[in-house]
Amino acid sequence: MKLTEKIDFYQKPRDFWRGLITLILILTPLGINSYGLSLLTQVLIFGILAMSLDILIGYTGLVSFNHATFFGVSAYTTGILFYCGWKNFWLTLGAGIAVSTALAILLGLVVLRSSGPYFLMITLAFGQMIFALAWRWRSLTGGDDGLPGISRPDLGLPVSMENNISFYYLVLVFFLATLFALWKFVHSPLGMSVVGVRESESRMQALGYNTFGLKLAAYALAAAVSGLAGVLYVYFTGFISPQELNWTMSGLIILMVIIGGAGTLVGPVIGAAVILVLQNLISSYTDRWPLFMGILFILCVMYARNGILGYFLKLFKGGKNHEGIGS
């Protein structure tokens, strides 16, 4: 418990840095073109998503291969409600998060009974089942054409979300709130016990903890946060298709977490930024862009096992080797 006492969110020097970062993110729209702004919005949304997966991979030690399911299901919920005439942001937000959380609790009761590679395979299987459902249930989901034409939501505030700058600020507020909340979570007694499960499940059981319940709580929390990302995403792009539920999407989020640095919360956000921006930059110069992404992944595996953040932290600390929290 010594650790939690030491980490005070409002400690002075860190306060300064946090304030600076927040200020930069707040001022960015003034000095960036609209394409850069849309890319930054996307990075923040995927940052929220990657952070939520980090709760599972980095802190709980569960490599879940269907994280896109919760993201996509919440996005579909929002899209379908939009088609039913729901325009209010807060209602669809609540519904999206509720549906993905409920789904996570149901799935979690089944998939959390396995672990290791079996857990990975069974989550992949469930993810693909939901993907197939979205593809085939044409009357509800529009099949592979998806649900197009979802317009920006009504917040009940005198600000139009059609304006990309206001939408960016909406995403930024949720991004900072998520970062704060997840930060608090991983340093709460509950969050620490979840890390305990990752370190040694049997020891935690011996200490009298209900490890299944802890894992289920982490699973549901991660799903709820990715549900939030899903709602923001569908309003950002204005459409949703089964692609967002496919395993390739889940794989992409896992890459964001691993490249950025699992178990660091901030690392996955960097991972999301690097992957999305490189994808957009390289692919405008060459069709062979997956080759360059592949080289980056290999380099990360060879030289930055703890992710980009872990690598730089090592440099900061003068080359002292630290065990990666996610490894």
């Binding site: 946090r18 970062i21 960097i270």
Partner: protein
Amino acid sequence: MLPYFREGRFLKAGALAATVLLAVTLFAGCGSNYQSNTGTAKPVKVGLLVPYTGVFASCGENITRGAELYLDQVGWQAAGREIRLLKKDTEMNGQVGLQKARRLVESDRADILTGIVSSTVAYALRDYVVSKEIPLILANAGAADLTREKGSPYIFRVSFANGQYEYPEGIYAYDKLNFRKIVVMAPDYAAGHEKANGFMAGFKAAGGEIVQEIYPGLGTSDYGPFLTRIKDADAVWAHFSGNDSIAFVKQYDEYGLKGTIPLLTSGDCVDESSLPAQGDAAVGIISALHYSAALDTRENREFVSAYTDKYGEEPNMFAEQGYVAAKLIVTALEAVNGDLTDTDRLMSEIKRVEFTAPRGPFKFDPRTQNVIFNTYIRRVEKKDGKIINSVIETIPDTSDQWTPAR
């Protein structure tokens, strides 16, 4: 236990995170943002969005080749302005396509967008191009709604609406081929259903009966379980494309069905790029399409020989669609004298464009902004050792007028 969160480290981590995040985004945002306002004739920028990776990469490649062939022929300029083709890979993914379109429009300042193989990507882009007031010339995506309920003055289509050539094929099958009972097969995805619905609507309107519908999954490699289920009928109509069409046509022959039940298909199923692999198994198949490389007109002969000279293979429907899209853009640019300041005027000129394309007469239906073309009924034949789609009947002026009951 939590090494990265120990005293003092999070601040460095956070600072680093923000620096990297901002550096990359600013770099991306500003990288190609400069625009020269000097010089009287700035180049016209045409954004070409097609898949260059994934299963439909060859469609994207063929569309690009067709468009580049035409632009070569006119020296990459129209009305004295240089034309620049900005090619972007959509990966057949709506999210990626939308992001690339954003980059083209907001960062590269593209004036016109074209390409689009997949309807998913077209739907994803639809609201965006309308809100940004950028004309979008669809060069393949076939979802009929894109030029119906979801149509817009900014959206034009030079290729086809799903069902547009299948509907007259249904009528032809009843009237001229005297089929009364038909089994329908198509892959189980949106375009497969739309195309099958088009054929069935035409066939039923003429008085025919659909006795069975079979929808295997997209990307099926073994059609055996589906072929053995086929009921007794006068003919089978099928739509498959790409690798699916090769597997299907060969297996239809291998299962001995070719000799017993005649096979009708969509034109996509016996595309010029698939015919060499399908070989003799394809001979005798009757299909409908708005194009055939074997079409015997002056425009098509010239197109085929120029294309074959440049790329060493015969053009197919996608190459022709790319060629037509490029020609449409150049013709419209000439009509407005290269002045793109008035988008409404540009669009009304695009709408008015008519010319003789390799496929025959090309024009838009002014109500939907979808193309009107000749539907060609073709039979696969072997001539001088080469397998071709011979045109056996021309159904002129086919528009996307029929609307299925919803």
